[in-house]
Subunit: 332 residues, 4 copies
Amino acid sequence: MYICEEDIQKELDKRKPNNSRYSTNRSEEDRVVILSGVFEGKTTGTPISLMVKNKDHISKDYDNIKDVYRPSHADFTYDIKYGFRDYRGGGRASGRETIGRVCAGAIAKKILKSLGIEILAYTSSVGNIKLKNVDLSYIDKNPLKIPCEEATKQSIMLLDSLIKENNSIGGTAYCEITGLKPGIGEPVFEKLDAMLSKAIMSIGATKGVEFGLGFLSSQKNATDYNDNFYMENDEILKTTNNSGGILGGISDGSKITMNIAFKPTPSISVPQDTINNNLENTNITIKGRHDPFIVPRAIPIIECMVAITLLDYILINMTKKIDCVKYAYFNF
Amino acid sequence: MYICEEDIQKELDKRKPNNSRYSTNRSEEDRVVILSGVFEGKTTGTPISLMVKNKDHISKDYDNIKDVYRPSHADFTYDIKYGFRDYRGGGRASGRETIGRVCAGAIAKKILKSLGIEILAYTSSVGNIKLKNVDLSYIDKNPLKIPCEEATKQSIMLLDSLIKENNSIGGTAYCEITGLKPGIGEPVFEKLDAMLSKAIMSIGATKGVEFGLGFLSSQKNATDYNDNFYMENDEILKTTNNSGGILGGISDGSKITMNIAFKPTPSISVPQDTINNNLENTNITIKGRHDPFIVPRAIPIIECMVAITLLDYILINMTKKIDCVKYAYFNF
Amino acid sequence: MYICEEDIQKELDKRKPNNSRYSTNRSEEDRVVILSGVFEGKTTGTPISLMVKNKDHISKDYDNIKDVYRPSHADFTYDIKYGFRDYRGGGRASGRETIGRVCAGAIAKKILKSLGIEILAYTSSVGNIKLKNVDLSYIDKNPLKIPCEEATKQSIMLLDSLIKENNSIGGTAYCEITGLKPGIGEPVFEKLDAMLSKAIMSIGATKGVEFGLGFLSSQKNATDYNDNFYMENDEILKTTNNSGGILGGISDGSKITMNIAFKPTPSISVPQDTINNNLENTNITIKGRHDPFIVPRAIPIIECMVAITLLDYILINMTKKIDCVKYAYFNF
Amino acid sequence: MYICEEDIQKELDKRKPNNSRYSTNRSEEDRVVILSGVFEGKTTGTPISLMVKNKDHISKDYDNIKDVYRPSHADFTYDIKYGFRDYRGGGRASGRETIGRVCAGAIAKKILKSLGIEILAYTSSVGNIKLKNVDLSYIDKNPLKIPCEEATKQSIMLLDSLIKENNSIGGTAYCEITGLKPGIGEPVFEKLDAMLSKAIMSIGATKGVEFGLGFLSSQKNATDYNDNFYMENDEILKTTNNSGGILGGISDGSKITMNIAFKPTPSISVPQDTINNNLENTNITIKGRHDPFIVPRAIPIIECMVAITLLDYILINMTKKIDCVKYAYFNF
């Protein structure tokens, strides 16, 4: 297939801090270079290796956190696991690691698009502020990736006050997959929703994931919850989509819908009690400016992790029928 | 290690319908037999193969669902994926497949127990009925596995009325891991919470999973949410456990806590609109008696899936330090 | 696809001792039963679980080898690895474990046959006795699976004398794959010949594997060795097939050819010096009758291991081109 | 563990053409740079990413092979598999890909050395020229890595005449593992010799691999072949090592010994008949100077592939006994 750096760069650019007050002001240029796997614009089958150089990273920025475990960060758990830690920027617990997810996701998204499949994520709440309506065209018109002008205005006021307090807040994201055929996913341990959950929950700061009605399902009767199938103009449809597009771990042809919970950014510039790596009580005030709200920066990561997972399943699904195996063997 | 059929049978017995009104009355004997891997009571390193014969299964029970797709079941998605389906009992989408999970989980739990690690799950809500208090000793005193007498009584009244209406209801489960050392889990894609999410979400009827404060985290400020470390009597402690015992995908030594959402059992004995495998509109009334509330039967499955996942991570963790590799090579 | 017990049984029957003087006289009935994965004669996508009961196994047969390590057997290595061993019949080091290989191989062979691919193996030498000519029709006319009447007669005389001496002898097998398209295999670490080597060398008693000219290649100049391509009647052909049908780990459309070396059966009924599990010097005379020549019994195992490996690669190959991915997604 | 670029560079340097007449004269500098995974000289647990830039590669060198399939090269098989090929330098079928194997192997070798395990490979024949004696100190004193002065002299004369004819020749390598404890390896499909075979056969130009007596085993009686155990000074010893140090797929504490066959370098500067990618008959004379004998350059690759495989098995072996799992959990 055809792939170029620009295909990947445009996804990486979505991930960058958007020069607003509401995200870190590190100047992350994040230019991707293709090192292998593409020749004359086409993939050769060789693994595609990509490089994004870290230009902004200056070691001294991190000196005050060298020996102290920041609360609700992974400093302590990495140190106790490995007995040793690269304290500069959080290592693999840093948001920097998501660059790789976005690069892979950009390629997956391009293939999915050619199959008619789209993935869309947006910020669905900031603290207690919920969406009043959903206007998808508004997502890219505001730095918070909220599809609602009113909720955005309220959120901006809230974040302005949190910035003054050096505090941060959690929120939720919504993600949907449209255009996916029924029949994609695997039974038992590798259910599509199980693997999407793994993919989503591997993103830093996530604390929960749900499909369709999600936790609200627990309050429903079957007579209200069950999605009824019906035929209309030779199309298989459902009266409702409470299940969120997956039945028994396999896509049913409806939209796949997810909600994801994010905790507040743990890095805040107020003094916090904690311990150091000599196991002594101490406190820390984390320097620098940090995102008061992490969800907008997680939006492209969610889309990319979903894309990667989905593409894997579409490839796995190729072997589901012996007729497809035969056709592929004789024709490709 | 020593393992016998009784070690596994006692977990399987927890999975059986408990002869109450609130679960299916199929007489599932479910006796496990060890076929390989154990000699003179000890494991030999050979894969342990176990057999549980399905005695109750009678094909004619399923004749009325042969051609019709039950709403919110996996009949349709299996059929469209594979082009063919064993309609007797739901195949791999049936709750019968959880027997394997419990057998493996029983062995995992035995090993974890020898490491001082315990896993406990219980029903934490039935529809809108929440726990009033938590009395762990009450879990096994009621058929619903609820740790609260008052909530149990309310739930029984609710379920009695649902049975009359041939309806069912959703609920939630809570699960906690106690006694786990800090440092267990892996970075980036294989975070402990990511893999536990996958394990939990692979159980039928689950619609969401969250850790620690979970979705509530999204409404918190960092100053309220962050868990502060402190030392007391040479022990590393945290003032709170909002993160649910995992930081950066690695256990922090606190309890690991999860909530899980379950949809209502989709099998209900009222007429429902749907389609058949000729893609025609039709309706179905599912015969037989079904669980009006699935959570109690999922409780042992949750514990077992958590146990299997956790043990895998403990094995993976053995290679984290080169000193451990050396010690193991020279001494074992 | 359609699969029945007979499809598997006919391969299992090839594996049985052939009631000749030249193989063990254990009465191994080895009836296979399909336990899952097949419904109304067709596979459902569910893992196919098969059971072959071990009827002949009587524990007392093995009492004399309980504490003593038989020379050139795996008794010692299993015991030192696991600290414990099921001494009855060799456990996983026993030839009994090849039943599973044959069951899986039978299914793989059936699929490969539908793709026009055939796998053939035969005994190509017994000690120093080589083939004089190759008459494939003779393979099943003699208990040694040798495609040459003269070599068979010589071998039978040799084996008769070895039986009298309670001795055994090594030999070689030849295996070829015909009808395979070019383009099957993977680059670098997973080359087709690399994985076939692994598959073959995982069979007990194998000591070497080679492709095409094999070790003889090491004595050749490039001008003699290189296989030249040419076109004839729109077909891509090679003047020679010294490479044995694989170039750069990928099939080139010619026959894939392999030679495999087998050591003599280590179980012999003469006294041998060895040690026991108290690490004391001792000796052992292995009771019972054993195969004086193992290769004929390995022939079906070779075919099956090659079939399993090849089918895996044909499935993997389905994703080699994005056009095939698209076709499969939209049409199956 | 401590690791620095020099640890890796010294293995890479062994892989370079040795400025003799007997290897290609491309000036491959091959400097390795550690990009991630090491901090303050120690590994952090993060994947170690390494970069070796390809400085010598000039595209025009390869223009004459753009459309023509070189005999006994992978040009044809890559093209037919992927429908497209990076013709510059052979892509993943090029010897350049072995850099990654050596980098990983260097780290594996360092760890194995700390466990007392050494891996040694050398050239054991050049065409028909065999070793007269084995003098390990001579390996690094000659460009052919032959441990025998006489065989080296004969080989040099042979290679000189082959260079004049623009021809090349095959050969064999020998590899041994010393200092490995018994008990390393896995049963059935993942036998240590099976996986070593895969590792070795994944190296370009290999055509066969054998263990211990290898193909010669096929000519032996059990009474001559079987290795007898005996105790001496509390040590477990064997009278012979015909099995090559592996029994039932698991190391027995003796030297592990392998022989490997290599075909002649297929790139020769004489005209050869072949076809092009329009499937027309044509011929090719491959320009430039090429190794008349590839084995010396394969020697470090063999050592590295064996090291990687062995280290994997040592890590896998850590979980063989529950007591080791417990010790590791509580102490590391």
